[in-house]
């Protein structure tokens, strides 16, 4: 069973087209194993991305060094998954 301990989901808000292009570049960096829940398309729309623990630092440095604003939507994905599992187990009981 794949676990998601330490995975975070960030909401990124690009302020212009240039930043969108930077995020699109980030999408191409396969070694980071990012999972874009909402892909970068326009500054009007947020970008949500699940980031494995091992890539967190690199992504945050990338965003901060390019002055791209972000916030943490899900602090630890596994915690939310565990809650979902518990809710399902309770319901089954």
């Amino acid at each position: 069973l794949e676990t998601f301990v330490g995975h975070q989901v960030l909401r990124i808000r690009a302020s212009n087209k240039e930043q969108i292009q930077k995020l699109q570049f980030l999408e191409t960096l396969e070694h980071l194993q990012l999972d874009f829940w909402l892909n970068p398309s326009s500054p009007a729309l947020p970008v949500d991305v699940r980031i494995p623990f091992h890539s967190l630092q690199a992504v945050k440095v990338f965003l901060e060094s390019n002055s791209i604003e972000y916030s943490i939507l899900i602090e630890d994905l596994q915690v939310v998954l565990d809650e979902e599992k518990q809710a399902m187990a309770l319901s089954q009981q």
Binding site: P46, L73, E84
Partner: protein, 310 residues
């Protein structure tokens, strides 16, 4: 084991087996208007079941609804099951649904990607793709919503089999997609194609593979806005309306682009709750509210389809 829906809890998420049992229950309990068809099987040989809602007649105009093509979007499969029950129970009591079903059929595919759904329950909750093998590559699966024959392989789809948006080796390479295409083509009288996804609260019409307006732009936009307003009326959930390209991003090989280009004018994609707080892990307490509001949006579109034959 006795067939009965009385113990089925619509307010929680279910395994594939449990959902399939409930489809059987519905077809059994409402056999006057509901029947279960098998339109094919998945890569791993799981059946693709469609519920047919019909009051008779042959080859009537019909509405197609599917859910869960991206397997991790559990709220869509759950909403589809609730909606199936709603259609069956409203026939004969809700004049709108009664008149609709007296005139047209509805086909509902509640789990469009059963292999992926099973995989999310057993191996990887975040799995989105099919489970087909890619020759010469360790990475598994194709994004089934990049695999349709509509601008296949264009912008917004990946040629990398390890990507979550991998378009596959060719259009319709995924048996799950091909089964739907074959069913719709063989039917020949599908007049609306509605697909349920999550999340981000959007209601979209073509196109995604190109950023030009569809020929029926004005009508689709107006129907979409009316549906979004219906959704909003229940719990205040706000849906943005527009084409895939202008609303989210350019994405090729999507289902509603194929259906629209095939000639199905009323082609819409829903992106259900939420706006990011839970992602694909929407709390079970929100399943029924989501299904309820989605149902209102679907109903608005279906009523328009009923009243505007083409």
């Amino acid at each position: 084991r006795e067939r009965s829906s009385s113990t089925f809890n619509y307010g929680t998420y279910h395994s594939l087996t449990s959902i399939y049992e409930e489809l059987d229950n519905l077809a059994h309990e409402c056999s006057g208007i509901v029947s279960k068809l098998t339109i094919g099987e998945s890569y791993e040989k799981r059946p693709l079941y469609v519920l047919k809602f019909s009051t008779g007649g042959t080859n009537r105009p019909a509405i197609w609804i599917d859910a869960g093509i991206h397997s991790r979007e559990w709220i869509t499969q759950a909403s589809a099951i609730w909606i199936a029950r709603k259609i069956a129970s409203d026939y004969g009591s809700d004049p709108s649904i009664t008149s609709l079903l007296d005139k047209m059929d509805i086909f509902l595919l509640a789990v469009a990607n059963p292999d992926g759904y099973e995989f999310t329950h057993t191996e990887n909750r975040m799995w989105r793709k099919t489970r087909s093998r890619n020759q010469g590559c360790l990475c598994i699966g194709v994004d089934p919503n990049r695999n349709w024959d509509a601008g296949f392989g264009g912008p917004g789809a990946s040629s990398n089999p390890c990507s979550d948006t991998y378009h596959g080796p060719s259009a319709n390479s995924e048996v799950e997609v091909k089964s739907i295409v074959d069913f719709i083509e063989n039917h020949g009288n599908i007049v609306a194609f509605l697909t349920l996804h999550s999340y981000s609260q959007l209601l979209m019409y073509p196109y995604g593979y190109k950023c030009t307006k569809p020929a029926d732009y004005a009508e689709l936009d107006s129907v979409g806005k009316a549906a979004a307003s219906s959704i909003h009326s229940l719990y205040g959930t706000t849906f943005e309306v527009g084409s895939i390209c202008t609303t989210i991003y350019q994405a090729s090989g999507g289902s509603i682009d194929w259906s629209y280009d095939y000639g199905i004018k009323y082609s819409f994609a829903f992106e259900l709750r939420d706006t990011g707080t839970y992602g694909f892990l929407l709390p079970a307490s929100q399943i029924i509210p989501t299904a309820e509001e989605t149902w209102l949006g679907l109903k608005t579109i279906m009523e328009h389809v009923r009243d505007n034959p083409y």
